[in-house]
Subunit: 348 residues, 2 copies
């Protein structure tokens, strides 16, 4: 089964997805994966997926049958194994190495019953239902005390995801982990440190600065603010923050859903119009689950952390320099990117 | 000009390569870059490059003219500006942000006068000359006290580099930086901490463990050890370490060059035979320059750190999960990869 392994020299974790067990031939095949004939995510094809674990449905419709609007299922080839309760081990030493069983959850949120639709052409009402599904599914993952963190993300377009079994049906993935990734722990440490020195949230300070400066703003409304980050690693990267300080996405009030649906759609439509439907990753950055109360950063996390969406168009390729230093090269500064996105049409 | 910008929430630096200044049309062009008609790196085309700054040449031949075997030039579109002495600024605050001028060096080491040759089919004698050139050019960068770190790397094959102006002529790049990248600082901290607790080098302990365990060994000789790392982020990743503890690549004795040439070629030939000439990044991990003696980790770096080569085949695509968590998913565990590489032919 899968394993989580930690590198002793850099501290990162890797998931060894042994179930996938790719042999050399699977990497060397030159053919680009063609779209499957039958899409298992379309309405009417519910029997092709694993059992439905959540759905927003039309009144009177039945689970695992047509009539749904947003639907959640477990991945058919999960990268981590979902074990509810008992039978698994904590982290183990292995000489200089750390390893633990690949326990977690790998879920797919199918965002529409219709093929060839996506977040940028859903109605605002439908995007609100998708947002509601995201929140519900993260809350469901939180109930399992094995999981310390859940990442909700979307791979749009060929380049941004695995090239195998490519199906262009709008969906996101939710991966719950038994660890807090190094990236998130570092961010928690930085925001906690900032708050201790200034008694202000780092992200709230960034919003104030960006709001005053103006050159990196993309679009905003009463509740949300979208801008191109100062040190964007990818050209045309966009961050969307709630204006009201909140650490957890799941703590957002439902009355903000219309404003969030509008700004998400605005950003995605502008990117599509400006960059001809670029491949992108949509990522939700939110606070980790807080089961183990003794962790010191939990005590202040509600004041330190601030949730956000991150939209990362995949327009450049990372090469040896990025891999060797962790420093990305961005040929389009965020001020230029934001100016072009402000000018771009927000109409479908 | 270029700028280095630091993200305040995660601490990474990004290079804003404004000189490149790509507009949307440069990202949306669907055509794959074709190989240029004339390759500026071939023998006889020296006038197409910037002036030669280093070369290993046949006796009697002249700079910037045929007769060279390995040749170094400055990049025509450098991502950082080379300023020797004076006219530049240290890091500046900018509200919550850190920024500094994009000072550095971006150099190209052309590894052969012949087109369509590469490290995996050079003679062992020629690879030794390439190794010598690498060491010379890193020593030259070290003489500039502005530079704190230099990364030597190679992007082999289309996927691993920028897709623009693709020229398949074997070369590496040397990028010298006015900062120590976060990745390297973290590794220095981890190795220092390990030494303090154990009074042994972490990398030497890894070599001992890998040597005893055996399942991840690819190939070895008297001086070098090649294996697939325990937490490999990429399938078929290989690390090559000197068996004798050394922090700096440039401190390696020349009498080890034949052994290094042999193991580098062995690894690359086996990868090519097993995976049909895969795209890869070759990266040199070596200790930072030590101009500012007061830094505490400099005092023990010679005992803490251990240089290595890293060969990272680019066979999978990073998607939202990797981007959002920093955790990579590897579908081929290193034990399987190493077994296949051991079985693969090491003959050209």
């Amino acid at each position: 089964m899968s394993e989580l392994r930690r590198d002793p020299t850099l501290g990162y974790w890797t998931i060894m997805a042994s179930e996938r067990g790719w042999r050399p031939a699977e990497y060397t095949s030159k053919k680009i994966a063609e779209e499957q004939r039958e899409c298992p995510f379309c309405e009417g094809k519910e029997s092709m997926t694993t059992s439905e674990i959540f759905a927003i449905r039309k009144p009177g419709s039945q689970p695992n049958a047509p009539g749904w609007e947003v639907r959640s299922i477990m991945s058919k080839i999960p990268i981590l194994k979902d074990v509810t309760g008992g039978d698994w081990q904590e982290s183990m030493g292995h000489g200089v190495y750390d390893v633990r069983e690949g326990i977690g959850r790998h879920e797919v949120v199918v965002e529409t019953p219709q093929h060839h639709q996506d977040l940028d052409n859903f109605s605002l009402e439908h995007i609100q239902k998708v947002i509601k599904a995201y929140a519900e599914r993260i809350r469901a993952a939180e109930k399992n005390s094995t999981f310390e963190y859940a990442l909700l993300f979307k791979n749009h377009g060929l380049v941004s995801g695995a090239a195998r079994d490519v199906i262009r049906h709008s969906r996101s993935q939710l991966i719950a982990l038994p660890i807090i990734p190094k990236r998130i722990r570092e961010q928690l440490a930085m925001t906690k440190n900032y708050y201790e020195r200034r008694e202000r949230c780092l992200f709230c300070d960034i919003l104030r600065k960006e709001s005053t400066e103006g050159s990196r703003i993309v679009v905003q409304n009463d509740s949300f603010f979208a801008y191109c980050p100062f040190a964007s690693r990818s050209p045309f990267e966009i961050s969307i923050f709630p204006k009201k300080h909140t650490a957890d996405f799941t703590a957002m009030e439902e009355l903000l859903y219309p404003d969030l649906a509008w700004i998400l759609k605005q950003c995605l439509v502008r990117l599509r119009n400006l960059l001809d439907d670029p491949p992108y990753n949509l990522i939700l950055n939110t606070a980790p689950f807080r089961h183990k109360k003794q962790k010191t950063y939990w005590k202040t996390i509600e004041q330190d952390y601030h949730w956000s969406w991150q939209i990362t168009p995949r327009l450049t390729m990372n090469a040896g320099f990025e891999w060797g230093t962790g420093i990305h090269i961005n040929p389009t500064p965020p001020e230029e990117a934001a100016a072009l996105l402000r000018e771009a049409s927000g109409d479908e």
